[in-house]
């Protein structure tokens, strides 16, 4: 399969924290029914950045397998997250462990404020971001679609800001395109939409807002065929990006004929 990119539209690679990436789609590794399904889906997605979580080794299982048994850190850029952390201190602790386990100084920072919605605790998030930036981390901060928090995260030195499309694991799609567009327009650092995308049209619509990329997990892991959905998402992210760069036609609330109005028969 060949990708046709018109010569008139050029796109720079995605640059985050001094690294450059070809793919604007990032994927998680959680909740797949099998490790084989996870590996096939990640391959089909074309993603380079793959998120992982830090957890205790299960000492009672003889063959407890970490995710590194299935994914080569040579092939993927592993991005450790602080998922499940409810305080800044806890998130900082997990970030440090992730850096030690991992292969880079990037962290996807999450400080969760509420168990039902998994919405971020923006106060804790800012505190943790400042600490981690001070320790030399490249912080990609999971946040809500609030402009002020996004601006403060950028001021704190975050390498990227990751507003949600809708709550984690909800699959509700892009709830507030205006909010996401505003954040993208006002920030200088990359804006990666994280969480809430459910299907390919959600991904395409999100990329059409002009954001720099999307991170998703559940939409792939819970699809009936994760690899097929991963491929669809890869295409949708490319399509949405290209449509954004191409520049869409204006919306009109009246019809305008596509065929000539002159030269009609008498």
């Amino acid at each position: 399969m060949t990708t046709i990119v018109p010569e008139t539209v050029t796109d720079a690679p995605l640059a985050i924290g001094g690294r450059s990436f070809r793919s604007r789609l990032m994927v998680g590794t959680g909740k797949y029914r099998t490790n084989e399904a996870m590996v096939r889906a990640i391959e089909a997605s074309g993603a380079e950045i793959v998120t992982v979580a830090v957890r205790r080794v299960d000492l009672d299982r003889t063959k407890e397998e970490g995710v590194l048994y299935h994914l080569s850190p040579d092939q993927y850029f592993l991005l450790a997250n602080t998922a499940g952390c409810y305080t800044a201190d806890e998130a900082v602790r997990y970030a440090r462990l992730g850096r030690e386990a991992g292969f880079n100084n990037f962290v996807k920072l999450e400080v969760i404020g509420d168990r039902e919605t998994l919405l971020p605790d923006t106060e804790g998030l800012l505190a943790a971001a400042r600490t981690l930036v001070g320790e030399g981390f490249q912080v990609l901060a999971y946040t809500n679609d609030d402009l002020i928090t996004a601006l403060r995260l950028e001021d704190a030195g975050c390498a990227a800001v990751m507003p949600l499309a809708s709550p984690i694991g909800s699959g509700l799609g892009l709830v507030d395109p205006y909010g996401i567009r505003t954040i993208k327009r006002r920030l200088t650092v990359p804006v990666i939409v994280d969480a809430g995308v459910g299907t390919a049209s959600d991904a395409c619509l999100t990329m059409e807002q002009g954001v720099d990329g999307i991170l998703m997990n559940t939409a792939l892991a819970e699809a009936k065929d994760p690899a097929a959905m991963a491929r669809a998402m890869g295409l949708a992210v490319e399509a949405g990006r290209l449509a954004f760069l191409a520049g869409r036609m204006p919306r009109r609330e009246i019809a305008v004929p596509s065929s000539p109005t002159s030269g009609m028969l008498e």
Binding site: K31, T51, R56, L59, G66, V67, R96, L97, A195, T218
Partner: protein, 69 residues
């Protein structure tokens, strides 16, 4: 021969002493390249596992990467 009472990943464990963190990993059958070790909330880097002795009552956390979003 003494026995050390430790807390490892939240559970009480006994280990023949004297012992280092590397001895603990060997005792648990874990490859030091696949885990990150925290001793009393401080990360101990891999090269120092063999020279870091354990004491009675120490709390050890052994973590690795798992699937996540």
């Amino acid at each position: 021969m003494t026995e050390l009472a430790l807390t490892v990943n939240g559970e009480p464990r006994r280990l023949p002493g004297p012992a280092t963190l590397l001895d603990l990993l060997a005792h648990l059958g874990l490859d030091p390249r696949t885990v990150v070790v925290e001793l009393n909330r401080e990360i101990v880097r891999r090269p120092r596992l063999g020279e870091t002795g354990l004491a009675e009552g120490d709390t050890v956390e052994l973590v690795h990467f798992v699937g996540g979003g």
